[in-house]
C-alpha cells in the first residue's frame, strides 16, 4: 500500500539525484540577454545623478535603465493583508529619486554575457546625497518622506477585560524580549527568465515559485497586459521558506525588458545580492506583561511590540505583525489579551514572511513569559503550563481574534494529552535527574520546553483537475506550487488512495498558469489541507462514474464495490474489472479521450496543529558557546499523509529554528551598512552543529476542516525551537542569566555571564 499514511519514496527525486533538475539558472532561452542589477551602496539618500556612460561603452552592453526609464510603472502591490495606510510605502521596481536600503535596485544593465553585464554594473556610478539613517525600529518615529512618518500603522488585537485582569492580579510579570533579523536563505538564489513573442503578443516567464497565479495577475496589471498574454512557469525550486516566489522588482524588470528589448532576458541573483535584496524577516522587540493569580494562572496578557519592516512594505503587507499578534496566546486560556504591533520602517532590507512567521517570535515571547511566571510563583515550568492550557472539552475554541483575515478558531486539540505523551516518550523524570547529576558535577547543562500552536490550510479555495487516461494513469493538475517540500508525492498519494491506484501512476502538474485557470500556490502550510481536499472531491466524482459503470458490468450493487489495486472489485476481490477496461467502457459512452473531473474546495477557516519542543543545551562557560545536545519535537497534525516526508519537514524546520536561536542574524552598522552579506557572515547550521532530532508524531486531533483530517506540517519544526533553546540555556546557567534575546550568540552570552558573575 502506498496511499495515505505510507512512507514512500518521492516521485520528485530521480532527476534531482542525476543532476537533471531544471532550476531557474538551468533555463536558457535562445538569443537571451543577461540582466544585472546595480544596487544602492548607501542606506538612505537622495539620488542626484546616475552616470551610465562608461558602462554603456563596454562592448556587449545592450541597454541600461535607471528609475526614470520605469517611472511610469506602479510600485509592487500587496498579495495579502494589504492596508491603505501601508500603500505609500510600496517599493518601486527601480529607486525613484531616493534610495532607502543598501541593496536597493538603482539601475539595470542588459548585456550579451553575464560576466560583461557584471563588468558594466561596476562602472555605473550613482551620485547620492546622504539622508539620516534609521536602524532601530523601536526608536523615535522618523520621516519616510515629506508626507509620511516611519510608523504607518499600529495593529491592535484584543479580547476580554484587560484592565480588570491587571486590577485583580496577585503578581505582574514583565519582560522585554527581542528576536533578531533572520531569513530563509534557500540554497538556490532567485532567478527568472522571460521571453516575449511579438507575433502573438504573449509573454512567458520561467523561474516562478510559490504563487505563480497571483504573480501572473500582478505582473499583467503592472505591465498593462491582458491575463491571457502572460503565463508563468515553475521549474524546480531550490527551497522556499516564505521568502522565495513573492513578487520582487527583478521579476517585473525581466518581463518588461523582454518586451521592450525584443529578446529573451535572464536574471540570476548572486548570493551577496540575495542577502541584501530578498525578504528579511523576524526582528521584533516585545514588551509583554502578564497579570497572574497566586497559583500562576494567567488572568491577562498585554503585549506591545515593534516590527522592523525594513525600507519598504512588500507583498506581505501586514501579514507578519498580524500573525504575531493573533497567534501569540497560543495554547493557553489567557482570559484577557491586548496586543499592539507597531509597524516601523527603517533603512534595512525590506521584510516579509519566513517559516513560522510571527509564531517563531510570538512563541519565544509567550513561552519565556510562562517560564518567568513559573519562576515568580515558584512552580515547575510544566506545572504552570498545565494550569493554563486550553482543555480539550473547550474545542473547537474560539480565540476571539482573527488571523490572516479568518476567525481564529482552534479546530481540535488535546494539549495536555500531547504533553503527557511527550513526557512519557522522553522519560522526562529520568532525563531531568541525569541533567541534575551532570550539573552537580559542574557541567552547565539544562533542559527547556516550549509549547506552540501552528496554523495551516489557509483558503479561500483550491481547484484541481483530475484526469484518468485509458491506461488507468491519473494526471492531477493543481494551482498549488512546489518549493521542494514533496508536494508531488503527497498529492499523488492522496490521489492514488482515492482512486485505488499506486501513487506511481499519478502525474502531478503544478505551478503552470497555462494548465489551470486559477491557483493559490504554496504558502502558509496550505497545500495538503486545501489541495488534498479538492482532490478528494474530484476523485469522488470519478469514482462515482467508475463504480456505476462497474456495477453495471459486474452486475453488482454499487455499494458492494470499491476501487482497489487498480481495479473495481467486490469485497474479497471478486468479481473484479481492471481500471483500463472500466475506463474504456466509460469513455466509449462519453466519447472522450480521457475521464476528467474538476473540483473546488473552499474554506474560510484554518486548521491548527500543535506541538512541543524540548531542547537540551550545554554552555561552555569559558566561551559562552552553546552546544545543543538534543532537540525533540512532539507534533499533532491530525493525520499524516507520508510520515517520512513530515519528519523531513520537521528536521528542516528545526534546523532553521536552531539557526535563529543560536547563530543567524543580519547585523547593521550605525550607517545602515549590512554586515552579513555572505554565507560566512550570515552563519547557518551545518551537520556539525545539528543535534539528533527526536520526533513524536501523533494523530489525536484530526481536523474537521477538509475531508482528510490532515493539518499542515511545514512550520512546526521551527516554531518553538527558539523558545525551548532559550529555556534550556537559562536552565543550564541555573537561572542566573535570563535569556531575553535571540540569537544566543557566544559573544552575547559570554558578556551576560560575565555580568552575572560567572568566572
Amino acid at each position: 500500500m502506498d496511499g495515505i499514511g505510507a512512507s514512500v519514496r518521492r516521485i520528485e527525486d530521480p532527476p534531482l539525484l542525476r543532476g537533471e533538475g531544471r532550476f531557474a539558472a538551468d533555463i536558457d532561452l535562445p538569443g537571451q540577454l543577461h540582466m544585472r542589477v546595480v544596487r544602492a551602496g548607501m542606506a538612505h539618500g537622495r539620488i542626484l545623478s546616475i552616470d551610465t556612460a562608461a558602462a554603456a561603452a563596454i562592448p556587449g552592453v545592450v541597454a541600461i535603465w535607471t528609475g526614470a526609464d520605469v517611472a511610469s510603472l506602479p510600485p509592487i502591490g500587496f498579495r495579502m493583508m494589504g492596508l491603505t495606510a501601508l500603500e505609500p510605502y510600496r517599493q518601486p521596481i527601480l529607486a525613484q529619486r531616493v534610495v532607502r536600503y543598501v541593496g536597493e535596485p538603482l539601475a539595470v544593465v542588459f548585456a550579451e554575457d553575464p560576466y560583461v553585464a557584471e563588468d558594466a554594473e561596476e562602472l555605473v556610478y550613482a551620485d547620492i546625497e546622504a539622508l539620516p539613517v534609521i536602524i532601530r525600529a523601536a526608536g523615535p518615529i522618523g520621516d519616510f518622506d515629506a508626507a509620511h512618518g516611519t510608523e504607518p500603522t499600529i495593529i491592535r488585537k484584543a479580547y476580554g477585560d484587560i484592565a480588570a485582569a491587571f486590577a485583580a492580579a496577585e503578581h505582574v510579570v514583565e519582560l522585554e524580549l527581542a528576536v533578531g533579523r533572520h531569513t530563509g536563505v534557500p540554497l538556490e538564489t532567485r532567478g527568472a527568465s522571460a521571453a516575449y513573442d511579438a507575433a502573438t503578443g504573449r509573454l512567458a516567464m520561467h523561474g516562478a515559485a510559490k504563487v505563480p497565479h497571483t504573480n501572473r495577475i500582478a505582473i499583467a496589471r503592472m505591465l498593462d497586459l491582458s491575463l491571457d498574454q502572460l503565463h508563468l512557469h515553475e521549474g524546480h525550486v531550490g527551497g522556499g521558506f516564505g521568502i522565495r516566489g513573492e513578487l520582487y522588482p527583478e521579476d517585473v524588470l525581466v518581463c518588461l525588458a523582454a518586451m521592450r528589448l525584443g529578446r529573451p532576458v535572464k536574471w540570476i541573483e548572486d548570493r551577496r545580492e540575495h542577502l541584501m535584496a530578498a525578504n528579511h524577516s523576524r526582528d521584533q522587540l516585545h514588551r509583554i506583561r502578564a497579570a497572574i493569580d497566586a497559583r500562576g494562572f494567567v488572568l491577562g496578557v498585554e503585549d506591545e511590540f515593534w516590527v522592523d519592516q525594513g525600507a519598504y512594505v512588500r507583498t506581505h503587507a501586514s501579514t507578519v505583525p498580524d500573525l504575531a499578534a493573533g497567534m501569540l496566546p497560543g495554547p493557553y486560556l489567557f482570559p484577557a489579551y491586548a496586543a499592539a504591533a507597531h509597524v516601523r520602517l527603517t533603512n534595512k532590507t525590506p521584510a516579509g514572511t519566513y517559516r513560522a512567521p510571527g509564531r517563531f517570535e510570538g512563541t519565544f515571547v509567550r513561552e519565556r513569559l510562562i517560564d518567568a511566571i513559573a519562576e515568580r510563583v515558584g512552580l515547575d515550568p510544566i506545572a504552570v503550563r498545565r494550569i493554563n492550557l486550553i482543555p480539550p472539552e473547550s474545542m473547537p475554541f474560539d480565540r476571539g481574534l482573527d488571523a490572516l483575515g479568518t476567525p481564529l478558531v482552534y479546530d481540535s486539540g488535546d494539549y495536555a494529552l500531547l504533553l503527557d505523551k511527550f513526557l512519557r516518550h522522553l522519560d522526562y523524570e529520568m532525563l531531568q535527574a541525569s541533567l541534575a547529576t551532570r550539573r552537580a558535577a559542574g557541567e552547565h547543562v539544562g533542559l527547556g520546553l516550549a509549547f506552540f500552536v501552528e496554523k495551516s490550510g489557509l483558503g479561500p479555495f483550491d481547484d484541481v483537475r483530475l484526469e484518468l487516461d485509458a491506461g488507468g494513469r491519473a494526471v492531477l493538475v493543481t494551482g498549488a506550487a512546489s518549493v521542494g517540500q514533496g508536494v508531488e508525492t503527497s498529492l499523488a498519494q492522496i490521489t492514488g488512495e482515492m482512486l485505488g491506484i499506486s501513487y506511481l501512476d499519478v502525474t502531478v502538474v503544478h505551478g503552470q498558469t497555462d494548465r489551470i485557470a486559477r491557483g493559490m500556490g504554496a504558502f502558509a502550510t496550505r497545500v495538503t489541507v486545501m489541495t488534498g481536499t479538492a482532490i478528494v472531491l474530484a476523485a469522488e466524482k470519478l469514482r462515482a462514474r467508475l463504480l456505476a459503470k462497474a456495477a453495471e458490468l459486474l452486475q453488482q450493487p454499487v455499494s458492494a464495490l470499491v476501487l482497489r489495486d487498480g481495479a473495481a472489485q467486490a469485497e474479497g476481490g471478486s468479481p473484479s474489472i481492471a481500471l483500463p477496461a472500466l475506463i474504456a467502457a466509460c469513455l466509449a459512452e462519453e466519447d472522450a479521450p480521457r475521464m476528467v473531473a474538476e473540483a473546488t474546495f473552499e474554506s474560510g477557516h484554518m486548521t491548527y496543529p500543535y506541538g512541543i519542543h524540548l531542547a537540551i543545551a550545554r554552555v561552555d562557560a569559558e566561551t559562552g558557546g552553546v552546544v545543543l545536545e538534543r532537540l525533540a519535537v512532539a507534533y499533532d497534525i491530525g493525520r499524516t499523509v507520508n510520515p517520512m516526508l513530515v519528519e523531513g519537514q520537521i528536521h528542516g524546520g528545526a534546523a532553521q529554528g536552531i539557526g535563529g536561536a543560536l547563530m543567524e542574524e543580519f547585523l547593521y552598522d550605525e550607517d545602515g551598512q549590512p554586515l552579513c552579506t555572505n554565507l560566512a557572515d550570515y552563519v547557518m547550521p551545518t551537520s556539525g552543529e545539528m543535534p539528533p532530532i527526536d520526533i513524536l508524531l501523533t494523530e489525536d486531533a484530526p481536523s474537521g476542516i477538509g475531508r482528510l483530517g490532515v493539518k499542515g506540517a511545514g512550520e512546526g519544526g521551527t516554531t518553538a525551537a527558539g523558545a525551548a533553546i532559550a529555556a534550556a540555556v537559562d536552565a543550564a546557567l541555573g537561572g542566573r542569566v535570563p535569556i531575553t534575546q535571540l540569537p544566543i550568540t557566544p559573544s552575547r552570552l559570554h558578556a551576560a555571564m560575565k555580568q552575572a558573575g560567572f568566572e
Binding site: 539525484l17 543532476g19 537533471e20 521558506f241 520537521i650 534546523a655 551537520s687
Partner: protein
C-alpha cells in the same frame, strides 16, 4: 573577448571548448559543457553546492577557473549513475529521503562519493566533520547523514569506532 581553446575531460568525455580565462570552472561546466547538474549557491566557496571531484579530490567548482582544469580528470553528478542504474549513494539518498528541494544534492553527492571512495573506514564523527563543509537548508542534515551512513554500511566502509 579574450578566450582560450581548451579541452576538459568530464566524466570520461572530452569537451573541446572556447572559454574566457576568467570564467569559473562551475560556469564553464554549466555554460560551455552543458552540464547544469553542478549548482551555484554562493560563488564564494562556503555552501558547497558546486562541489565536484577533480583528480580524486573534492573541489569547489566556483573557486577554480575553467582553464585551470585542463588536463585534470573532472567528475560531476551527471557521471554518478550507470545508465538507468543509480549509484549506491544516489539510491541511498532516494531511499532515505536525503533531499528535499534537491539544489544542494549534487554537491553533497560528490562530497560523499569522494568520502566513500577513500581507503579509510568512516565513523559518525568523521561523517559529520566531512559533511559539515556543505550547506543544506531543507533537510536539517538528518537524512543526508543517514543516507551516507547507510551507503557506507552497504559498501563495508562504516565503523562504529574511530578510524585508525
Amino acid at each position: 573577448m579574450n578566450t582560450r581553446h581548451i579541452t576538459l575531460n568530464v566524466n570520461g568525455t572530452d569537451h573541446a571548448i572556447e572559454v574566457e580565462p576568467r570564467r569559473t570552472l562551475a560556469d564553464t561546466l554549466r555554460d560551455q559543457c552543458g552540464l547544469t547538474g553542478t549548482h551555484l549557491g554562493c560563488e564564494h566557496g562556503v555552501c558547497g553546492a558546486c562541489t565536484i571531484i577533480v583528480d580524486d579530490a573534492p573541489v569547489r567548482a566556483c573557486l577554480m577557473f575553467g582553464v585551470q582544469a585542463e588536463g585534470r580528470l573532472i567528475r560531476t553528478v551527471e557521471g554518478l549513475a550507470d545508465g538507468q542504474t543509480l549509484s549506491p549513494l544516489q539510491q541511498s539518498f532516494w531511499d532515505n529521503h536525503g533531499l528535499q528541494c534537491g539544489f544542494c544534492t549534487p554537491g553533497f553527492l560528490m562530497l560523499a562519493t569522494w568520502l566513500l571512495e577513500r581507503e579509510t573506514m568512516i565513523d559518525e564523527a568523521e561523517l559529520r566533520h566531512v559533511l559539515s563543509s556543505n550547506l543544506c537548508r531543507c533537510t536539517g542534515y538528518q537524512n543526508i547523514l543517514k543516507a551516507v551512513r547507510e551507503a557506507a554500511k552497504g559498501l563495508g566502509k562504516w565503523t562504529e569506532s574511530a578510524p585508525a
